[in-house]
Subunit: 398 residues, 3 copies
């Protein structure tokens, strides 16, 4: 039964026209719909195989490099899990022990770590205007190395969160929606509210809301972005969202009222972030060696946040959603009022009701990462997956 379903997913995968082989998937809005579907499908196949105890080890040796330029638990474990399932050894590039910097050196380091490397996962979300550029530089560096024959293979560069997008998160969220509502098609016409929420911490990255509004507008959904005045996202992502909505027959609107956003919503994603203007100021301070002024900026940001403590996902707000049963999403960890902080993004009873669904949402991420690696590294991924299914080598003995 499990196998039949997996077989049918492989068949749909084989029909998709994609161009992901040896190409990096850095921002969802640079990929075609078919490519997004391919990632979702491969992620689903790998998840089903795991649960059916079918080994997905497609590599018998070789490295996967992780490069975290920000603290991380969830993403670190997602990447390590994905690599382990594919048979790759994860090795951390700890920059405090290396000379990765600019220009020549990024190119050199990217090649030096890649002689037997199949994937490089990078998290670089702290500096607005730099994270995506760094990933592109690494991507171009390994491409050059591969073209020159220096690298026997071209490692996939996986965006584990940059300043603009968080594709492994938003694609995991999308897979969660597909599984919850039944299919991509059934998302058409659904209302999704991506809203700011109060948090007592500061400087949370923009990539999650940006990733959500740009991705979810592609499938005919009605996406509403809600935040207090001043909490703007990067303008580029608003344009992409508007364009996607127009193309898909959905809509993209912005409001500054939480209740309005929740009213009639099928899906809500209340989550804190810092205004792009503040993130830019911080980036400028840090890049110009004025790190000592960041503390003042942080205070400013927290004071600004404190004016919006009423932006909390309460039971009352949830009752405004469709049938009072809208789906709550969060990338975790959430700031839960009276649990992880005095006042936060979400009321404890709301979070409690959606805890297990958010855990499922999080689980998908590791399979999205594994899918991105496979699609980049194999010319005919459907054939490779069919081979795994045919052999059905058990992942655990017994």
């Amino acid at each position: 039964m499990g196998k039949k379903r997996i077989q049918s997913l492989i068949t749909s995968l084989a029909k998709l026209k994609t161009d992901l082989y040896q190409k990096d998937f850095l921002l969802t809005w640079l990929q075609s719909d078919a490519e997004l579907k391919a990632v979702l499908t491969v992620a689903d196949i790998l998840e089903q195989m795991y649960r059916a105890n079918i080994s997905t080890r497609v590599f018998d040796g070789g490295l996967a490099v992780s490069n975290f330029r920000d603290k991380s638990t969830r993403t670190r474990f997602s990447f390590a899990s994905a690599c382990s399932l594919l048979g790759l050894t994860a090795q951390d590039l700890d920059e405090s022990k290396s000379q990765v910097a600019h220009g020549e050196t990024v190119r050199e380091t990217a090649n030096m770590i890649s002689f037997v490397t199949e994937a490089i996962g990078i998290r670089d979300d702290l500096f607005v205007g730099y994270g995506h550029e760094y990933m592109r530089e690494v991507s171009e560096s390994v491409e050059l190395g591969y073209q020159a024959g220096v690298l026997p293979q071209r490692p996939a560069v996986i965006n584990l969160q940059c300043d603009r997008d968080h594709p492994t998160q938003s694609m995991a969220d999308l897979l969660h929606l597909v599984k919850t509502f039944g299919s991509l098609k059934k998302l058409r016409g659904k209302k999704l509210a991506m809203t700011w929420a109060y948090s007592p911490s500061y400087g949370k990255p923009l990539s999650v809301p940006q990733g959500i509004i740009t991705l979810m507008t592609r499938f005919g959904m009605d996406v509403v972005l809600a935040h207090p005045e001043g909490y703007d996202l990067m303008p580029e992502t608003l344009e992409v969202a508007a364009r996607h909505a127009a193309e898909s027959g959905g809509s993209f609107t912005q409001v500054h009222d939480l209740a309005e956003a929740f009213t009639g919503a099928d899906i809500v994603y209340p989550k804190s972030w810092a205004p792009v203007s503040l993130m830019e100021k911080r980036t400028t301070l840090l890049k110009s060696g004025k790190g000592h002024e960041v503390e003042a900026l942080e205070k400013e940001g927290l004071a600004q946040n404190a004016q919006h403590q009423d932006w909390e996902c309460t039971e009352k707000l949830m009752s405004l959603t469709t049938d009072g049963a809208g789906l709550y999403l969060h990338c975790l960890p959430a700031d839960i009022t009276d649990v992880s902080c005095k006042a936060g993004e979400v009321a404890a009873t709301v979070f409690d009701r959606y805890r297990d669904p958010t855990y499922h949402e999080a689980e998908h991420k590791l399979y999205v990462i594994a899918a991105m690696i496979m699609l980049n590294r194999f010319k005919k991924p459907a054939r490779v997956l069919a081979g795994l299914l045919r052999k059905a080598r058990p992942r655990r003995a017994g």
Copy 2:
């Protein structure tokens, strides 16, 4: 030959009535005799298989998470070794990079790191009254996640040392005794002296002596606990030891004289520890944010130790043991007089004579850890082991 012996161990394993599948083994005194025997037997089988060059890789992908809340070399390597032999990828949960804390968050993190995780090894021995509780919280968290279908499997939680017990150490010590004396039965009537010993360092955990007196009293041994006045263990463990001795037909006595403890002993385990009262004071200081007062407490502890420099395992004391040839045990590293310090737990000539045996004692630990993982993760471990033996896939080529 090796294979015949392994086969006979598997046969005995199959006869043991145990209930370890998907249950955590956190304190030896909560497990049945049969379960202890099962751990010893599986550890022995895995060790024999390793030496017979038979692969024990029962997993083809999947994680093992280590969470060290105290410095560690030996245990860290034991855990990594065990995971490597089973085919799991060890991934460290470095709390300086995560948000593991209290309440909700332990539950969340435990689930977030466990989507493809088969084992979580935890060392948390510094805070009296907290280490075991933390492990139980992690254990309950993954159980809830598994019951809710969030986790496809329930990872084994392995106690790599808590405030109360050090089961992988004490079970490795027991396996060492079984191998030295021939069988569990032959331990009956043997005298084991678990004694305090002087060390110039402070705050050594209580879990080793507590683990030894609670475990060794179960097999009809005469266990003597010896320490200077004031160096008490946690009362709970003394009660357990007394009860075990009564049930097994052995004995458990306490003395405050080192020579008395050594006299006629078949086995001696001289090792330093801190008084439970001091550990409790330290815990209170640290938990109430008075970390600065710990230094004063440390001086107090060292001064108290210094009054007992004569508690050293000397040749003269060893001559009091049975035939002057009692077996010396230590969990390592030992404080060796004139080698690793000016005055320590043991005389250099004594340690020198027992160095290789203590190394063998230490070796067993990795197989005990692997055994605990296997017994938790496989419903029919004897069948899985029999499968490994039948295939006899070489661990190294050639």
Copy 3:
């Protein structure tokens, strides 16, 4: 085709008389020519197998331990890559979390980490007079443990750079020369200039130039060592180089003029290092607890360097080499003028032209490490390699 070439390499390997099984390869000058050829041949075989998608996983479980006593990116990744290809799990021995020190304790730790360990890679290059000694101590410790039956196998100790030699680097450099010029024989009569070069950083280790002059003089090359007055290497290595040149029919000369060294050179290796006298002073300061005086010494060293900014590998100098097309070598990272620093070891246009060759040079290192492990761990490496070729298990699916 690839397979035929690999087969012929295995055939030549089988003919070499070597004694590397369970012996450590710590300094190239302690090994026979046949042993050097065996390392080069196995490295080449493993590299060809990787490119032919043939799995080289000879271990199905087991550890490889890395012990870096200095910062490292390249070597760390080389070692991790080699281990991954052989099927070993790399585990870092982080001394900040352990008790590795002197005497007894090195012996104990070496054994404690080695129960299932096949290789221990050590980098210890900062203290002149100590790095090699530490490696020997580890080597002897595991030998004793193995002889006593404490260790089921004797791990290979791999020198990842000591104070005297950098054998994985120099052997990778040699493999690069063999591949560039066609064979070891074709190196005979070639002129190689190992020269000092200016760097704005200080305290670069001596092991690269020492490794080069001692190794390259063995094959009939004309090796010229050039450096400003005062930048002497360890005398022992000069003697070895002179002896090797006399034995091989090559030559070893020293000059203090960069143009003279480059004139007519087929190969140039311009690279900065610190004078041995300064390194000794630093070692003495650090070992005697006078770390605060090191800063003054560093300033002194940089000032000394600054007098030799003209020691740069320029286009003009390169034009003096054979046909103006001498091969540029570097162990990377190079200090590139106007790229990684204002004034450095090499002009940007020169480095640019040789970037890809230096990347290839670097790539060989991981295969040299893997070769050293295999030759130490297998009695009949040719048979093991032939087995891998026969099975030709794909390293990546598809």
